[in-house]
Amino acid sequence: MHDITVVDLSRLQFAATALYHFLFVPLTLGMSFMLAAMETVYVVTGKSIYKQMAQFWGKLFMINFALGVATGLTMEFQFGTNWSFYSSFVGDIFGAPLAIEGLMAFFMESTFVGLMVFGWERLSKGQHLAVTWLVALGSNLSALWILVANSFMQDPQGAAFNPTTMRMELHSFQQLIFNPDAQSKFVHTSIAGYVTAAIFVAGISAWYMLKKRHVDLAKRSFRMAALFGVLATIGVITLGDALGFVAAHAQPTKLAAMEALWKTEPGPMPFNLIAFPDQSLQQNKGAVRVPYLLSLLVTHSLDGSMAGFDTLQKKAAQRVENGIPAVQALETLSKDPHDAAALAQFKTHEKDLGYGFLVQRYAPELDKVTPQQVQEAAKDSIPPVAAVFWSFRAMVGFGLLMLAFFVMAVLYTLRNKVQDKRWFLIAAAWMIPIPFLANEAGWLVAELGRQPWTVFGVLPTWMSASTHSVGYMAFSLIGFVLLYTVFIAIEMYLMVRSIRQGPQEPGGGGRSEPGPRPQPRPANAAAVSGRYQEG
């Protein structure tokens, strides 16, 4: 029997490392494509300012990339050290995308990132541009494979449990990759990275414009970030909606937690704009509701309905009862893998195996399970509602705030007036933390909403962890938190230093406004357009 404190500490450790890691990843995903955009303009127009932009933002990208890699490595080890039962149970499936990520995407990204940094003087313009695009593609493919693996945990497709080997085995790689959850989550996450990078570039560019430093570079960076960001934010919101649709079918408890829906209501359903969910009483306090909105959001119709926790808990109780014979059959098969009766019993109840495991937490001997224990297990199938509900609202609220920001940013920059809007430039600089907070909130919605499962409906979290001691877990958790806090401090220090230093401008100027110009008062339009041409 697992010590629940160890399980909770293992969860906390993974959550802490993942949340730290996820501060770096989205910026890498988005910044790589922003660099590709800047360098594309440089190659097409030949204007050196775009090369300076690619090099300056590339330097910040590299700081973030290096620390992202450092924080990501330990997470993969944790699957083996802290989640050994999980790794043995689903390793055949979960390991494949992770291996592909390492061998294909990460190697590709890491190889080309070296060429991108050191290749400016060694490669032709076209070759360097191709390298930058490959870095962008590689980093996003890396995210693809991680999210394919994650989506198997959310909606296990393409695999089945083998009662002879006592583990899950992959039977369709195609189903694993084309899992609807994987598709919508990858695009949602990747584009959330674009938004993060766009806010980051826009915020720093705004700061330069406020300080009247590197104004030409900042204006161009801001313009590109604003257009990049507004389209990406629209994409993120669209994919968030798609992800909600997927969750409605694959993870109805997560969707009910996002909406704090304790009771099933007929359509049209109101949306809980604000509520204070009470998990023990299974009701909301102080709810502010918007009529019709939930039906519209969840079913895209005005009279649609979705299941609340009362319905879902009843279904879970039925599945727990149906899963008990499956687990009992496995106990027999573990002693005699050829027992035909046990095999037939397993096949009949196979789809509810995970729910059988869920009740084992309360009744290790399943032949003595009581109706109260079944109800306890069914109640456990409800994720922590308040945390999911508020994380979801934080994510959506930040998303809408960023959309409003980008719409204004596009309007101001297209009129070429943004440098005169001091209040907006200050606001832009203060926007920098917002996408990071939204990303963290999104991660919490996805992973807390999956509870109490590591693999939804198949493997409960309580039995997935390794059997470490509480002391070991507490010690390693404190170690990770300290180490990763140091990483964050290093990143912040290097970023701030590089930003204060500013981009290298022609003639060695790094701090002047707006950098030395070859011809201060050009005699004709051709000379103006040639201002940033390479000599």
């Binding site: 775009y50 195609q174 584009i191 313009r223 994409g235 339009a525 357009s529």
Partner: protein, 75 residues
């Protein structure tokens, strides 16, 4: 010749996109949307930068014309 090679390159790209659309259309529509969407976002951002260059050139030209006109009047 260079134009012909560009034509061939873009033709190959178009074929790749059509093939991807056919292959991913049924099962991987969001993956395809990501490919197309990302390319579009990058190109719109790039076009925005090019537009800013043009706006600044026009603004500089207009300012010069106004300065020249004032100088002519004073002369």
């Amino acid at each position: 010749m260079k134009t012909f090679f560009y034509f061939l390159l873009f033709l190959v790209l178009a074929v790749v996109v059509i093939l991807l659309a056919v292959l991913l259309g049924d099962q991987g529509a969001w993956y395809f949307a990501w490919l197309i969407g990302t390319a579009m976002i990058v190109l719109v951002a790039a076009a925005g930068a090019a537009l800013l260059d043009t706006q600044e050139e026009h603004a500089a030209a207009a300012q010069r014309a106004s300065t020249d006109a004032r100088a002519d009047r004073m002369a």
